[in-house]
Amino acid sequence: MTDAAERAQQLALVSRLKTIFPEVPEWPTPDMITHDHYLAYMKTSHDVGGELDYPHPYENKEEEQWELMTYVLCEVLGMRGIWVSEERRRLANVDVGRAIYLGLPYYSRWLWSVGRLLMEKKHISWGELTDRLAEVQARYAGGLNGQRPKAEPKFEGDGSGVSRNKHHLEAAGVGDPQCFAGQAGVAKFNVGDKVKVRDLPAMFYTRTPEYCRGAEGTIAEVTYESPAPEDEAWDREDAESEWFYIVRFNQAELWDNYTGPKNDTLQTEIPERWLEAVG
């Protein structure tokens, strides 16, 4: 944006972006928000299972070079202990908020999560990121002229003083979740046990979907020990491990008005903290 007309155009564009329920005003007073609206706004954006949508053609997509590079960037940061993938999922799939979650391309959120994490963990400053973005933009301001844009690091830094997690060293040669084996004690549930998913007031991040909250199922498998994603997402290397379970639900009980046969099932994996015994 360089002149008043361009600034005005961008303001007009942003003003069209609506992100709230149409029946509730912007900037509501507390008395205007029902408990159900509150829960809807608090719902972690990635948890879409069972939301209403319509059939449309399923597409494959040719991958962009930058998308491959983004995937590599994220995995290499994990390989070198800068984060674990659950931190990426929290940032990229929830912290971005619902507007960006639904509005911007899949891999752009992977990039967002890298920038955000590097700043929050103080690997880079806002100034460093901003200056570099401007520099790369300027580098290609005249157009690509048929060339591919390239990364041109000025030097290779000394990484010996960089703060890294213990996980990438402790799990080496062992695997994840194998590295947590033996840490969670005795599993509370066994195969065949009837369990109910707790309806917890989960804020900020979870991987237990809302579509099964309060639902009853059966333990199909006792799987492995691991810290819960709600702890890994926040780089809590001090978190205790717990047992995970594949829980089987009957679709006719899970969903209101399931129209398929009565023996259809759904399985999902749930950490012990989210389950309670039935009967």
């Binding site: 939301e51 990039l111 570099r132 979907p209």
Partner: protein, 236 residues
């Protein structure tokens, strides 16, 4: 450029000219440069993982199923210890980091279809997928549309892929929302007696390994032909 006085809105809301760098490319390059300059990882680390990423694909997954069809003992191994079975088709789930890829972990499990159970996989929260043995997920698998609907209306979604299952076959949706990564082992179809491992591998498409298609003699391609082109696709 434009003859219209105030056409700024039009030029800013259409797709970028092919020759302009995109915001996403700018951000990726800036972040990669800063990471290397800060010593977070080296260019060699990046090269190593790029090479890994460029070599993964669905053929090993298909070959694993073909082997299982031909060898009952291997089928048992595939069901009881999928990580060990994957090694037999050249896939080591610990690679290339030594502790598993950060996003795919080392908890691979194969879901064997039976005459009474048909499995189909989703990650309703994001797009978790057994990349080491299947390659990267197809775009449709990642979309909110697939993830919203397959858990609640599985038979409708499967029918959109052309797959209809009888009422006496249990459709089991496996939502891979934690560290497990799943792959379906479909049943061997009729009309494949005497086939070699190579012949069988050819008809076990990626879509069959997700569970949105069944293997059939003569069908060697995935279900949906729709492919959206990239602006600057992966460099050869």
């Amino acid at each position: 450029m434009s003859e219209h006085g105030h056409d700024h809105d039009h030029s800013r809301t259409v797709k970028p000219m092919v020759d302009e760098i995109t915001d996403f490319e700018v951000l990726e390059i800036a972040l990669r440069e800063l990471c290397i300059e800060k010593g977070l990882f080296t260019a060699e680390d990046h090269r190593l993982f790029t090479e890994y990423a460029e070599h993964i694909g669905p053929t090993p997954g298909a070959r694993l199923v073909a082997k299982a069809w031909l060898d009952d003992a291997f089928k048992e191994l595939a069901i009881s210890d999928a990580v060990a079975a994957a090694k037999e088709v050249g896939i080591d789930w610990l690679e290339p980091t030594g502790f598993g890829t950060p996003s795919d972990f080392v908890a691979f499990k194969i879901l064997a279809d039976t005459p009474t159970v048909h499995n189909v996989i989703v990650c309703a929260l994001c797009s978790c997928y057994p990349r080491p043995i299947l390659g990267n997920s197809p775009e449709w698998y990642r979309t909110p549309n697939y993830r919203r609907r397959i858990v609640r209306w599985p038979r409708q979604v499967l029918s959109e892929f052309g797959l209809q299952l009888p009422d006496d076959v249990e459709v089991r949706v496996e939502d891979s929302n934690q560290k497990h990564r799943f792959m379906v082992m479909p049943m061997r179809p009729e009309g494949t007696d005497g086939w070699t491992e190579d012949q069988l591998t050819e008809i076990i498409t990626r879509d069959c390994l997700i569970g949105v298609a069944l293997p059939r003699p003569g069908i060697t391609t995935n279900v949906t032909p729709l492919v959206r082109a990239a602006i600057r696709p992966i460099e050869a």
